[in-house]
Symmetry: D2
Amino acid sequence: MGNEPHRIALVGAGRMGQIHGVNAAANRRLDLAWLVEPRPDVAADLAGRLGCGLASWEQALADPALAGVIVASSTDTHLDLTLAALRAGNAVFCEKPLDLDLARLRAHEAELRAPQAQLFVAFNRRFDPHFQALKARLDAGAVGAVESLNIISQDATPPHAGFVKTSGGLFRDMAIHDLDMARWLLGEAPSEVFASASCLIDPAIGEAGDVDTARIVLKTPSGRLAMISNSRRSGYGYDQRIEAFGARGMARVDNVVQSTVSTWSEAGATSDRFEPFFLERYAQAYAREMDHFADVLDGAAPKVGLDEAMAALALAEAAETSRRSGSVVRV
Amino acid sequence: MGNEPHRIALVGAGRMGQIHGVNAAANRRLDLAWLVEPRPDVAADLAGRLGCGLASWEQALADPALAGVIVASSTDTHLDLTLAALRAGNAVFCEKPLDLDLARLRAHEAELRAPQAQLFVAFNRRFDPHFQALKARLDAGAVGAVESLNIISQDATPPHAGFVKTSGGLFRDMAIHDLDMARWLLGEAPSEVFASASCLIDPAIGEAGDVDTARIVLKTPSGRLAMISNSRRSGYGYDQRIEAFGARGMARVDNVVQSTVSTWSEAGATSDRFEPFFLERYAQAYAREMDHFADVLDGAAPKVGLDEAMAALALAEAAETSRRSGSVVRV
Amino acid sequence: MGNEPHRIALVGAGRMGQIHGVNAAANRRLDLAWLVEPRPDVAADLAGRLGCGLASWEQALADPALAGVIVASSTDTHLDLTLAALRAGNAVFCEKPLDLDLARLRAHEAELRAPQAQLFVAFNRRFDPHFQALKARLDAGAVGAVESLNIISQDATPPHAGFVKTSGGLFRDMAIHDLDMARWLLGEAPSEVFASASCLIDPAIGEAGDVDTARIVLKTPSGRLAMISNSRRSGYGYDQRIEAFGARGMARVDNVVQSTVSTWSEAGATSDRFEPFFLERYAQAYAREMDHFADVLDGAAPKVGLDEAMAALALAEAAETSRRSGSVVRV
Amino acid sequence: MGNEPHRIALVGAGRMGQIHGVNAAANRRLDLAWLVEPRPDVAADLAGRLGCGLASWEQALADPALAGVIVASSTDTHLDLTLAALRAGNAVFCEKPLDLDLARLRAHEAELRAPQAQLFVAFNRRFDPHFQALKARLDAGAVGAVESLNIISQDATPPHAGFVKTSGGLFRDMAIHDLDMARWLLGEAPSEVFASASCLIDPAIGEAGDVDTARIVLKTPSGRLAMISNSRRSGYGYDQRIEAFGARGMARVDNVVQSTVSTWSEAGATSDRFEPFFLERYAQAYAREMDHFADVLDGAAPKVGLDEAMAALALAEAAETSRRSGSVVRV
């Protein structure tokens, strides 16, 4: 420690902006100076809670002491804001996705890859202590080389159909996390993608052109396999589980419950509830992301950046193509 | 195999008689020839199901080919029938308890200990595969020397007050199993007994002079400790758990559920029901007891006999004395 | 009860013949009269243990009192023996598979479907108490309509490559059980099959033209989805789990452990071992199959017959086709 | 919120002083101004980490803006410092125990009970989210009226014999937490105490006049029962479990594991490790205690104070008397 905290700005006061803002304000290695948010009421309320100033995007970037920017605005603004902040010499913490269109990312690839560009794309599960513990076990050889994975990732309740329209669809919005986990844990980039999907939960999701229930199968060049199970509605809370199989057995992450309390009755033994959604389930991961951003501002290389964002998006696009064609898509 | 099955008689067609009868009839090493039961209807029904004949006690004992007797009649007849069968040269399988009065057992001790007396007292938990697996782990040193035990033993629903009156009371009827488990697993006979108990479940039990909720603490000469938790009504099925502690950790037996099915809902994850009572929970143990009786008829020494019956009863009597006096009782 | 036991013959004294023979001999509703087995030593040994006579296939079928035949010989003989026994007026218990070639089954379909043909094809999982409990929960609406399934089915250790050659391959030999479970639990026949598979465990399996690690995705006309995860080697015992998802939550079957004993040490809490393989895991199911055969001999309709055998085999063949083509196969 | 943070001082820079100091410094409702610690090196190091000043006890109390004092020094100084701080008009957060001698507390009872005295005695388990969830379930009637409790409380590794000598002994130092939990959860003050104890783990503990393994039984006037199981060394981490029994079933708190990762091998399924000791297990509770101290400084009544401290100590003294006498002690 002993260093001065890094001066940063936050863009966006929505759900993700609030989470990242609270974590930034509580992090002693960061000095959250500015909130950029066009809605005056929302902006004033959050700035008051965080104890930071309000600024326009131009004002914030003009702050000569500014070292970093957290991009937590609406998805369609992520890439432009990221590019502008990088050009102004700031390190960037960009809430995922960097963009929903792989072609657009490719068009800006050279600039995003520039040596001086410090770009951290915040995939929350990479910072979750449970998944990190799994990764550490696998790296330590707990099951031998990983041969296959089963990933269960199911939301508690379906989103509004309005959200679905701008989300990029189940594969780009939701499965993208699981596709990134598969890449991370398999230790080899998948080269074949298959997806099958349905609209079983909410017809409005189907009318919006999307699906709400899916299974994805990935295969790597050496034959490793991963299965992803997605649903927009579990009926029992947020379901986030992974099983990794190797020659010496299996390592897995189970769901997080709200407490270790259980109740035993004539019906059997009942655990406490599962965490309801990502805000609660990944609260620790979000705080750790912010600490990693402080590392980046100290000069560390981002643990997740353009490569991971593009690779996961490419797999998501392949899954979307596959579920429409009924055939394996090679990436 | 290859030998002729041993010809045996069963006394008693009540709940325990039916269990032991079915297991005896299904055991290829035994030839269940006679059922002795004074109630004609009950006798005819069970004999029909078991495919055996009906006989009076005298007729059964007069069968020159008879090798063994299963005593599963009412508790107050156990000792007399056992003595008579032993005198007639039969091996005896006596449902526990051998008697509820330690003084009576002592009065017949010489006869019961005669070299030719083959007396097997059937404590069901000694034959349960789960408790046997625990014992095997402890004997293999899984936790080091056993230093202490916690035993949970709770019935699902309380007995009728009428049963309570003839049962010998909670300590002699119910805790006696746990006291025997404690002796078996501690590896050293307890020398101090303390008990505290209440009537919290059914006032009729209290009016009958008994208690329905109890805690017992045992201590051995070397300082090993055991705690027993008893209740006549759990509200969640039959609760039969043991934890054994040593220098290297703990080994425990958990309850048996009816299947491995669980249901996950907004309320959490719910296991299947626990087994409701001893008939279901110890079904395997009862079949194994019968197989051990065949071993005894083949000439093996009974694994549980007069020593265990008297020691457990002495501990139960000490617990009863302690709960009335409020002081440790030395045995 | 009260009826005479049904006189039956067993064909085959291999691994499955021994299991079915022991269960038949122990079932009071059946009279196991004959064992048909060409290897004299093996035949004599098993007949001795079962207490039945030895006969040639022709002699057994010529027994005028014979009512049923258990076909547990090598797979390539199943169909011919079944047809012969049915022609002779016997009810047939045929160990799965009825045949590995769907075209052959179709060629004999009319005869196998004849009104008087009593054909029970023994898919063991249909008779497992845990999967039956799951089915009962789902039928009772515990999770609402089933929308999707995840089935984990992994062997403990891989088979010899010699077995692989005659097995019909992973999909026809192993996944066929899971495909049948999917049909049973989804409540709607799958119409689309996709499979991806690799040889990761034993190169000899690949040299024999087979795979040892697979993922299968099924889809029904209404969009229900099922995923099957298969491996020939788990490294932790026999892994047989199913999760069924619906609007109100999830119901699942977990693995069976050898006892409820766990050991707690510095490394964490360790359960007892999982059952090692199908003989142990499905011991109860095999006994229940035999009891169902007694039901069939009493006149009941077989719960699993030609329809289930053909449908599961068609799905397995489609999976094999799909893993070679990389495309969905419609059935 | 919106108020100025409360200015406070911390006394003690040992293990507990560090925990409370970090939580106080991170709490936005508190302004940690002073650290009081006689050892210059230790003091400078912690004050540097906490960003607070150094002061003597007299200097700190002389600060006219001081509103509260955290007493986290050695146990034998707790009561004198608490009294001095209260006299100076400060609210007090006193790490447990307030004192090890009930007679001394009684001698100062009037002063400690003065209407203006704001005394919070920090029993950590009262603020643990898992035990709070248990209490909430019980209060909501999840099991009906609580009839009995089983409390398991075992340390991972035994303390140094040097610590034992100043600790007050197992009952005053360790069991006191469990005795407080029993009082809290039973809903009725225990009136009878029995204890049995041994020295099985470290002879040096016995030479210091203490025990390392104990069982305590409590009984309330209405007959409710509680059992406490204590050990100074579990061999598997910090074991903190409670089961509460009532007419409709049981509610329990299980141990906290370091992550939801498990590993499945030939040996069975192994959970992640249990938390090693109270610092990790009760990290959330300590932060919540500090937040409660902010509530007290805002004017709230302390949730735990003199009554709880004296009652738990009285039970601990009774347990010590009972384990020496072998009889129930009435309190």
